[in-house]
Symmetry: C2
Subunit: 121 residues, 2 copies
């Protein structure tokens, strides 16, 4: 796999804002449409396979976030749609459960939905 100019540009966006999620379309905008949207999709899928990014489906679209440094997830506000990063706190519980079933865990996806501090009900 080649770290081309385009791929580096995309990776840089993730590394410059470690707490953020990006959809393909958001990247397309941030990059000022300089990289073709199909290329962005292909790059995101590649990075995910390489373990650099994790993918979550939120509200029908795919979002990616950088996980090479720390493993984490997001809480999504149902009202204002803000996305709050949280450290992964389920690794142990998952491993325990999986080993009981003889299941070999490769990855997991956790998303929490509710209301943030400001939108509290």
């Amino acid at each position: 796999m080649r770290l081309t100019k385009h791929r580096k540009q995309i990776l840089d966006i993730f590394m410059e804002s470690l707490d953020n999620l990006y959809s393909a379309d958001m990247l397309y905008e941030v990059l000022d449409k300089q990289i073709n949207i199909a290329t962005i999709y292909r790059t995101l899928e590649l990075f995910q396979k390489e373990g650099l990014l994790a993918k979550s489906i939120i509200d029908g679209s795919a979002y990616y976030y950088y996980t090479a440094k720390d493993h984490h997830h997001y809480m999504i506000c149902l009202q204002c749609h803000s996305k709050i990063k949280i450290d992964c706190m389920v690794h142990h519980a998952i491993d325990d459960t999986a080993s009981k079933e003889g299941f070999q865990v490769k990855q997991h996806d956790l998303t929490v939905y509710g209301y943030c501090k400001n939108c509290h009900k």
Copy 2:
């Protein structure tokens, strides 16, 4: 909300096999295409809003499962695509983390990916 004949048929499928996940298309097939696919989609969304079903996105499509009796999740085998039901073991961890952030949890989605007993690598 009316529990019409169609809605009851769909709900029955879930209640008769509590460990299974169904996509709209799977239900459409199981029901022998007697209920329009758009109606199935509408019913699934309704049941989810009512808290009867939970939704997970797996491999690009939505799957629903019955959660009124017990809260659970699935481990998905990357090789044979089998879906293994697991009890939810992250409720506490999530609540703890959320309360630290003043976040009011409404629901969460957890999916574990890896290799099942038979496909172990």
